[in-house]
């Protein structure tokens, strides 16, 4: 069974990084690995920094530790699930998906919904580029930090 780690706990770790002024944190337990890096200590608490704060930059190494070499070099970018929930590719069962493979997306564009206890969380793109891959099927459960989309810069 995968260890239980949720949004709140990750946030505690991020706060700890800030409090102790650490640059990086890595944790591996029972096959689960999380790595958090911190470039912009102020970004997290600048609220509500609707237009400016860049989560992409603020969390460069957040992930499951399985990123490809290309991602590590910044050539492509994985959009991760910020919470445990159910993944939906469209706003309703009868609507077309928010995005398809090959679509050009901009930052702040809605890519999907992750539902948790009837809270509909719209996950916005945190990068400009082209959708290269969609890792999860519509209606399937997702874990915290699970890869949802792969975005590559537009050629």
């Amino acid at each position: 069974m995968a260890p239980k780690i949720d949004f709140e706990e990750i946030n505690k770790i991020i706060k700890l990084l800030e409090d102790k002024n650490l640059a990086e944190f890595e944790l591996e337990i029972e096959g689960f690995k999380i790595k958090i890096g911190r470039n912009y200590p102020a970004a997290f608490n600048n609220r509500p920094s609707f237009a400016g704060a860049g989560p992409v930059d603020a969390y460069p190494a957040a992930g499951t530790g399985q990123d490809s070499a290309a991602e590590a070099k910044g050539e492509s970018h994985a959009v991760l699930s910020p919470m445990v929930g159910t993944f939906y590719r469209a706003p309703s069962p009868s609507s077309p998906p928010f995005v398809e493979i090959g679509d050009v997306v901009k930052k702040k564009q809605t890519l999907c919904i992750v539902e948790a206890m009837k809270l509909m969380n719209e996950i916005e793109s945190d990068a400009d580029g082209v959708i290269k891959d969609i890792y999860v099927e519509n209606g399937k459960p997702v874990e915290f930090g699970q890869k949802l989309f792969l975005i590559v810069p537009q050629a």
Partner: protein, 250 residues
């Protein structure tokens, strides 16, 4: 402390859409949209919320909670705020149906649609939307809704003043989200249990994507998971796998 700024609309497709549009344009926490009617009132999963002119409360509020609040309990907290506002202004002890519906004698009087926007791991905004049936008679509802839907007029036996209820809701919303901000999520769950349509020990059915399981309601955990006692032993369902949960059909 929330400073409410109220935008009044005669009509709109959905107050949640209006609030979301404003939130994405940087509207502060406490931005409120209230409409006399919604032409495309939404519920979860693309379902419609019947929102005729002048007979309901259709309101959405922009919130910008800190990242580490128990965000997934926001719909339940918002539902509890609506419930409290109803009881305070009408005296009708309406009940909760998991996680955020307001019910009276088995009929749904209102519901909540909460939406949020996240970019990376950063929460950009949350929207609390509430739809409450106030002054509809049974014949005002479409025929297919009549067995399921009710109004406060029917529950209280008199005309409901929308403005009084609206003001009470805004007050109660602030009180209801406080336990989340103050990291006391179990207060929300306990408040829900106090007002739940399904009481502890009642026969309930939990629907998940893989089917329904019936048993006796044993309780809710602070993370929103449900425990039931079945002939095969105790079963626990985490909130994300639950499609619906309620009293088993008699």
């Amino acid at each position: 402390m929330l400073n409410y700024t109220i935008h009044r609309l005669e009509t709109c497709a959905s107050t949640n859409d209006e609030a979301k549009k404003r939130a994405r344009e940087d509207a502060p926490a406490g931005t409120v949209v209230i409409a006399d009617e919604q032409t495309g009132g939404r519920a979860t999963k693309g379902r419609r919320w019947f929102s005729p002119r002048g007979t309901g409360l259709y309101v959405s509020v922009v919130l910008r909670p800190e990242m580490d609040v128990s965000l997934s309990l926001l719909p339940m907290a918002a539902g509890l705020a609506a419930r409290e506002a109803v009881e305070r202004t009408t005296g009708v002890p309406v009940k909760m149906r998991w996680p955020n519906d307001i019910v009276w004698e088995g009929k749904k009087l209102g519901g909540v649609l909460c939406e949020s926007g996240l970019s990376g791991f950063q929460l950009r905004y949350a929207i609390v939307g509430v739809g409450l049936n106030l002054n509809q008679n049974e014949n005002d509802f479409p025929e297919d809704l009549r067995p399921l839907a009710g109004s406060l007029l029917q529950a209280a036996g008199g005309i409901i003043d929308r403005e009084t209820l609206f003001g009470a809701f805004l007050e109660e919303l602030e009180a209801a989200v406080a336990p989340l901000v103050e990291k006391r999520p179990s207060d929300v769950v306990e408040d829900f249990l106090r007002h739940s349509e399904a009481g502890l020990g009642d026969s309930i059915t939990v629907q998940t994507a893989s089917g329904g399981v019936s048993g006796l309601f044993e309780g809710l955990d602070p993370d929103g998971s449900i425990r039931i006692f079945t002939p095969g032993g105790e079963r626990r369902f985490i909130s994300t796998e639950i499609v619906s949960f309620g009293l088993a059909p008699k």
